[in-house]
Amino acid sequence: MTKQINFNHSAGVPVDEQVLKAMKPYFRQYYGNPSSVHAVGQQSAKAIANARVQVGQLIGAAPKDRVIFTSGATEANNLALQGFAYRHRRKGNHIIISKMEHLSIINTAKFLSKQGFEYTQVGVDKHGIVDTKALKKAITDQTILISIQHANNEVGTIQPIADIAQIANNAEIPLHVDAVASAGLIPVNVSEHGISLLTLSSNDLYGPKGVGALYTRKEVALQPILTGGGQEYGIRSGSENVSGIVGMGAAAELAKEQLADNVTRLTWLRDQLIKGVLEKIDDSYLNGHPTQRLPNNANIRFSYIEGEAITLHLSFQGFLVATSSACTSKTLAPSHCLMSMGVAEAEAHGALQLTLGRENTQAHIDKFVEVLPPIIEKLRAMSPLSKDVPYDIFEDEEHDHHH
């Protein structure tokens, strides 16, 4: 097998070796349950307390704030929305999210709408930036929570989180921020912006999978969505995943140390990648914001061809990439992010989502820019679509399809 080059870091990253090393003693040596009074148990309790500090420091949390460990970002997002909504139901029943949110936010909001809550999905511009005027307008006297992501993992757009926080703070509505895609790549600071709740994922920080965290400011009350023995401040019951939590803590500390380097180095690599691809391939376009974008993200669409076919050809060349094409999704639905940004559905099929990481080098970018053009050329030669034969003239009404 050819050596694999990972340009799909938003889907999964290898656990950092230092993180793995930090975790190892917590499998056999320090196996204790932190709820136990004995020494082995207390060693685990100490390790979790340490991990809370490490995670808190990555996001600028105050000492009295809470870091609640969960099974991952999906659970943290569920806890943020459901836990907050149930706890504060008497104050109102309205939640505001955006159209760019992760499905663990969108589908949780949908779920809540069946439990007597209502939600508004604020739209975005063509670059995927949340319409802050619409956000302001969406606030009613029933609004109890605003949940907006810091950055989008698919198209890379970074939201004007300071402006959004100011809108929320002026209206005295708590703000939840999904920072899964941004943490470790750009500065995230809950205290600076007055963020009340914030979601993190361990694997996105080069920690183990199956761990995440929900940050809550000290005065924010939540109703548990998992009940039991009262672990994690009584908010998230269940014996703690000690080794995983230790791993997430170590990963957060490393991410904080490497943040500045990451920003500079990855931004440079990303720009080489975008420039190289757009220069070499006609009818290719960058999705997402040209400058307000994650240092590791390049989302590029290629007209007249479909992304799964590109992805498969790239995998034969050793490149791991993702596509926004509906053809690889479980639902066969096109990317809700690209749709919200106004990208035509036919064009959205040809989008590649490239996310760089720590181990990527200039040589990887050079090789990618070299192997991609012949693949695009080959698939375009196969396609009936071209500059002269555009998308919109072939609407076949008889054809039964998945829509």
């Binding site: 690889t328 036919a346 196969m382 072939f394 076949d396 054809h399």
Partner: protein, 129 residues
Amino acid sequence: MYSKTVIDHFTNPRNMGEMKDADAIGKVGNPTCGDLIWIYIKVKDDVITDVSFKTFGCAAAIATSSMITEITKGKTLKEAYQITRTDVAENLEGLPPIKMHCSNLSADGLHKAIQEYLRKTGRTVEDLK
């Protein structure tokens, strides 16, 4: 996810490209859905003497297009009209379930091309029976 045969036809598609002197073209699919398949046929004495394709779509769409050109060449119009989506999938050693419906359109494209040829020669599908 895909069988070896699908990958083979996807990587080295047979009979790919526009046929300038085609007797009929069958166009199916919709770029909005991510699949568009054109099947070109050349017919002599009601036998398909040449067939080619152009396809916009995923690996399954490309492989099914390539496969149908292989199993169609040399067949009579009547024989070719009986080729189904299932035949194409079986010849490819199966398709992922989710692709069976959405990307397995090449048989429809072939049928449309045959209908078009029959129409041009003043006949309908009924005349094949």
